[in-house]
């Protein structure tokens, strides 16, 4: 005979944020992954007959000015947007960790020099930055990523630097120094894991901001290249016919909000889980 332990199930508080966040993000992830291999309609095939069709069972989100299925395009765009924002955050976070760790831990001249460069990048318009990178490295999605990553790095450097300054004289770091642990190991093995809870918050915000920043670039005409699309570029395209076919804008718009909310909820849930 089995013994059911009811109390443990009842006593545990349900982490509502985690569940909702996981479900919301999950749907997006599934959409993005399926979108790589299959979409209900071709994302590029045009149809003159079906321009600006309203949402229907054939076209869940309707069609755009070229008669393309918006749902299919959103599916594909979700993947592109997600990939861009994840890569942007990954690159800038790693750069931020390396630079922030070195400047924060050692201080002095290196700190002064790196922080001045960080300040300089901060004041530098990301559009110009994007243009410079595209001219140096050519076109392509990867360079949008790189430009945004460079623009995002300063804020990560600041956060990591602050944390390293806070922790550089922590007792356990002093001990590691006394043991004769090598500097890089102190930086990245001893200190680094301890800044992750703070870092995680900025990573979540960064993911959100990267989606927004990419859509800003799309709006200014230097985002991804058509017919490739991101949620931001779809939204930008959709504006032209906002009054006559509002569903075109609504589909990517709501998807952005949904994604960002999902990620935020998930991270809040994870935060609660740790406590």
């Amino acid at each position: 005979m089995k013994v059911f332990n009811m109390s443990s199930a009842k006593g545990k508080k349900v982490n509502i944020y985690l569940i909702i966040g996981a479900v919301m993000t999950g749907i997006i992830v599934v959409m993005a992954i399926v979108g790589i291999f299959w979409t209900p309609y071709s994302t590029t095939a045009m149809s003159a007959k079906e321009r600006f069709a309203a949402p229907s069972w054939q076209h869940l989100f309707g069609t755009d000015n070229f008669g393309r299925d918006i749902f299919s395009r959103v599916m594909k765009a979700v993947g592109t947007s997600a990939l861009i924002s994840v890569l942007v955050v990954a690159i800038s976070a790693v750069a931020g960790i390396v630079l922030g760790a070195i400047t924060g831990y050692f201080g002095g001249v290196v700190d002064a020099v790196v922080m001045r460069i960080v300040d300089a990048i901060n004041g530098f318009p990301s559009i110009l930055l994007a243009l410079v990178i595209i001219s140096l490295l050519g076109k392509g999605r990867q360079n949008v990523v790189l430009a945004l990553a460079i623009a995002f790095t300063p804020s990560f450097v600041r956060i990591v630097r602050g944390e390293f300054i806070r922790l550089r004289d922590a007792d356990y770091v002093v001990r590691a120094r006394l043991m004769g642990v090598a500097k890089p190991r102190i930086l990245f093995v001893h200190i680094l894991p301890n800044i992750f809870s703070t870092f995680w918050v900025s990573v979540t915000i960064g993911l959100n901001n990267a989606i927004l920043a990419e859509s800003g670039l799309s709006y200014l005409g230097i985002g991804v290249q058509a017919p490739d699309a991101t949620l931001g570029s779809l939204l930008s395209d959709a504006q032209a016919s906002l009054a006559s076919s509002p569903w075109y804008a609504l589909a990517p718009g709501l998807t952005i909000v949904w994604t960002v909310l999902g990620v935020a909820m998930l991270s809040e849930g994870i935060g609660k889980l740790k406590k």
């Binding site: 001990r175 120094r177 006394l178 642990v181 090598a182 894991p193």
Partner: protein
């Protein structure tokens, strides 16, 4: 009379206070003693009606001079409670720095009491200010106008605590609860605060609940004691009764663990062979950079340790005692080479002396397992010394061996620091310092953050390890009793200067410096 009847408080199902009953008479100082987590503070906060929202009052009633303040199952009347708080009963907290609002001047913070409860008794703000100033004078503060207009951080720890006390007594409440009011203060200040509290009680004839983990202190101030353990009162009686004739095992153990000259187990004088010092400090000055506020002013080198001159021999414990900010830690760091802004000589004839820190929570890397932490010094040594080569297995063996030596079971190898208690962490910390077998350990207040019984165990461990490895300790503490217990020789420091250094018993029996005398006065 204030009476607590059959009080049970639980936090998410776990009982923090378990059916306690207490009565406090006017003029009485009731000591609530026990180790951390025994429910002392929870009891006090409940009495004040400040129980955190996660806490549930399961049973019991609290009666204050005939008014039922709290009753289990009945929604607390917040308005009633607020009218009592501050007016009828007030509280003094442990950390005067954080317990005062950092962005509000001290005067207005005290004035708030009058505003909240006795606004109509005063005609004007000036009158209230006059009253506040009087009260500040009453708690032994001088230059009260200046104190009134100061922010908390501009006052010293002792002054802050006096201001806290002024806040608590300004309305002459029937009950004052003091929660570890002297723990964060230096010994000499501690004595003054205790004296002040006594004076207030004598003057005002109010009741007082004095919460402390320090039995020595409780003995000096309290008329009645309640010994708490795991949320229960295990023993209740007059202070003298309990100290002279404890009934329960726990009380006995607690009293026995109190370090002090009279009950020190290692009061036996050890003979140390002093031939070749393991550490020689000669004419050591340690500086601290301070930026000048003036334009083009040079960066000032503030001397925090002046002309330190001493040595430590193998197998010996040198106790270093002094108040916070006297330069103890700076001296340590200079010896270990962490601070290079020094003049003079430090000669160490052993490899890599290690350090044990005060706070067992910050000295272990929270993101690593205990096993990893214990092995890390070996890995570092492996890289540094070409002659040494540890395999993964030997490292693990050594770590587990060290776990046993510091009195922990093998399964702690995979635990994370946050899963350990403070005492256990300090054991790991000691193990980590010892695993590379240094012959000199600098221990900076290693037991100050621990409960008495745990403190006792850790000190015992340190002693046995000293025996085993022939270690030399530089043992730093502000607690003269702990110093007495562990040291062979004692060094007294004040404001960066070594005032006195000498054999333990000689120093205790015959202190030369007036400051030493003051330190020893209350031991």
């Amino acid at each position: 009379m204030i009476s607590i009847d059959n009080l049970t408080i639980s936090f998410s199902g776990k009982k923090a206070v378990d059916g306690i009953s207490l009565q406090i008479e006017p003029g009485e100082i009731l000591g609530l003693v026990g180790e951390s987590g025994s429910g002392k503070s929870v009891t006090a906060l409940t009495l004040m009606g400040l129980l955190a929202s996660e806490g549930v009052m399961e049973t019991g009633t609290i009666d204050f001079n005939g008014t039922c303040l709290l009753k289990a199952g009945v929604k607390p009347d917040q308005k009633l409670l607020r009218s009592f708080r501050g007016d009828q009963m007030s509280m003094i907290f442990q950390e005067p720095m954080t317990s005062l609002n950092p962005t509000m001047k001290v005067g207005p913070q005290i004035d708030e009491q009058l505003l909240l409860h006795a606004k109509d008794d005063f005609k004007s703000a000036e009158e209230r200010k006059k009253r506040v100033l009087e009260t500040l004078e009453g708690v032994g503060l001088r230059d009260v106008e200046k104190v009134y207009d100061s922010y908390p951080h501009q006052l010293s720890g002792g002054m802050r605590q006096r201001a806290m006390i002024a806040m608590a007594v300004i309305l002459h409440p029937a009950l004052i609860i003091a929660d570890e009011p002297t723990t964060a203060l230096d010994v000499t200040i501690q004595n003054q605060i205790v004296k002040l509290l006594k004076e207030i009680r004598d003057r005002e004839q109010n009741s007082m609940i004095f919460i402390t983990h320090d039995l020595n202190l409780a003995r000096r101030i309290c008329t009645k004691l309640a010994v708490m353990k795991d949320g229960k009162i295990v023993e209740l009686g007059s202070t003298e009764e309990i100290f002279t004739n404890p009934q329960t095992d726990y009380a006995k153990k607690l009293i026995a663990a109190v370090p002090g000259r009279k009950n020190s187990k290692s009061a036996v004088h050890r003979e140390i062979e002093r031939i070749e010092p393991i550490l020689t400090v000669k004419d050591l000055n340690v500086f601290y950079k301070e930026r000048s506020k003036k334009l083009f002013g040079k960066t000032e080198h503030k001397c925090v340790v002046k002309n330190a001159d001493f040595e430590i021999y193998p197998g010996e414990t040198l106790g270093l005692v002094g108040e916070s900010g006297c330069g103890k830690t700076s001296l340590c760091k200079a010896i270990l080479g962490i601070n290079n802004d020094i003049t003079g000589n430090v000669k160490i004839s052993t490899v890599r002396p290690q350090m044990v820190f005060q706070d067992p929570y910050s000295s272990l890397n929270p993101s690593k397992s205990i096993g990893w932490l214990l092995e890390e010094p070996l890995r570092a040594e492996d890289i540094l010394e070409k002659s040494i080569k540890y395999t993964k297995e030997t490292r693990k063996e050594m770590a587990i061996d060290m776990l046993r030596r510091v009195g922990l079971d093998e399964y702690y190898y995979d635990r994370m620091p946050h899963q350990l208690s403070g005492g256990q962490r300090q054991r790991v910390s000691i193990g980590q310092a010892l695993i590379t077998k240094p012959s000199l350990i600098l221990a900076d207040e290693p037991v100050s953050a621990l409960d008495v019984t745990i403190q006792d165990q850790v000190l015992e461990l340190l002693e046995s390890l000293q025996e085993e490895y022939g270690l030399a300790y530089l043992f730093i503490s502000h607690d003269i009793n702990v110093i007495y217990r562990v040291s062979d020789r004692i060094m007294v420091m004040k404001k960066g200067e070594i005032l006195e250094i000498g054999d333990r018993d000689q120093l205790f029996d015959n202190p030369k410096h007036p400051y030493t005398k003051e330190l020893l006065a209350e031991s």
